[in-house]
């Protein structure tokens, strides 16, 4: 509906947005050790592209408790790919589908993150420790850098990528319950995983033609 209104008001041409996702390497070194992933999956939904923001004014119909943190007030939805996907975070190119957009500049992107599964081995100073993490992230990932221009005369696809070394660089790999396996129940591991996965800079959206 929002897209429909945007198109009607602006008279912009529609743009088809074939979209792919590409995972990270399955093994990588961090400052404190090495991560080797056997399985890394995230259920994601509803990718939206947002135009550069304009200053918004909201009438004072509600009290000050309105949740509106941050500075990056997203602009209008410029394109979207609705649906739900199980992203293989260590897999190769995965087709997500063909989204719809309208010509114009894009500044940021967002999507919803749900179930996350990470299985593998953490190799730290004290040796190898397996991890088996299952989390319901259930948060929106907002403000993903997506500086691109949609142009109907030069159709291009979109490529979503993930930087797992960045995301898992925040994780505290402490087997606090001493059961020999790192899980979401260990100390702050769950929070630090969610922190990294929902960090905007873990993700990037670029024109497919510019992605190696």
């Amino acid at each position: 509906m929002v897209l429909l209104l945007l198109a009607c008001v602006d008279g912009r041409d529609p743009v088809v947005l074939p979209t792919t996702f590409t995972g990270s390497p399955a093994s990588f070194a961090l400052d404190s050790g090495t991560v080797t992933l056997e399985r890394a999956e995230l259920v994601a939904a509803d990718l939206r592209l947002e135009a550069p923001p304009v200053v918004a004014w909201f009438p004072s119909l509600v009290a000050s408790a309105r949740a509106h943190p941050g500075h990056e007030f997203a602009g209008s939805v410029r394109g979207e790919l609705l649906g739900e996907w199980s992203l293989d975070l260590v897999g190769g190119d995965q087709v997500l589908g063909a989204g719809q957009g309208w010509e114009g500049d894009v500044a940021t992107a967002r999507f919803d993150a749900h179930g996350l599964i990470l299985v593998g081995t953490w190799s730290g100073p004290d040796g190898d420790v397996p991890f088996d993490i299952a989390l319901d992230v259930d948060r929106s990932i907002v403000g993903i850098d997506a500086l691109l221009t949609l142009d109907a005369s030069r159709p291009d696809g979109l490529a979503l990528g993930v930087d797992l070394p960045h995301a898992l660089g925040f994780v505290e790999w402490d087997d606090t319950d001493g059961d020999g396996t790192l899980t979401e129940a260990d100390g702050t591991l769950a929070n630090t995983v969610v922190f990294g996965i929902t960090s905007s800079t873990t993700w990037a959206l670029a024109p497919a033609s510019e992605t190696p």
Binding site: S60, A65, H71, E72, R139, S140, G143
Partner: protein, 242 residues
Amino acid sequence: MTRLVRLVPLLLAGCSGTGTWTVTAWGEEYIEEGIPAEVFADGCSATFTTFDVVVTEAALVDGDGTEAAGIGTPVTLSLVEPGPQALATLEARATHYDEARFRIAPDGSGSSVRVAGTLTCGADAVDFDWAFATDTVYHCEPEDLTLPAGGSDATELTVHGDHLFYDGLSNDDAEVRGLAWIDADANADGTLTQAELAAVPVAPLGYQVGPYAEVTDLEAFVAHLTQSVGHVDGEGHCGVDL
């Protein structure tokens, strides 16, 4: 349609003469009286004894980006004092204006935002007294800011104290929380210092920093939140230069 609506006051204002721009600032009930427990997702509550902001710029900006009027000297506002407070009364060319621009920044080497008060979570409480030297320019677009010749219009810089307690820097589902502050009082003396805040990493809290990966501790997190407190005319959002 929007442009047409904006043309009407322009036509009414005419092409000559000046009008008066009255600027006020208000911290609303949250800063004057406190933030009640129902606002916090974790049942905490907060009161402020100090909430000072240093406004170094309050300017009226026309459609060409030209400053039509502005304050000449910085003003320090104590927002715990009741009611909207006068910030400036300025004369400017009578016309419609697109932007009211505010800068909250240190005046010299001091702080730009200073907050003191008490956070209470159940039986636990911490006092805090912090100063931040953040420098923030707020580009605000009041709904319809038009100075008629010989008349006046007003703009309010509204400061939202609850933003200091958000658990996210960018996500619009961020919630107001306080328990992490209680836990950050490492020596449990009832006073939470900025040094104690700086010793707390953000990632284990489950907080979100969005694109600000450089914000890794709770002191930096709160400092960043001080750069989101400025609004216009109540709930009007402002673009921000950090």
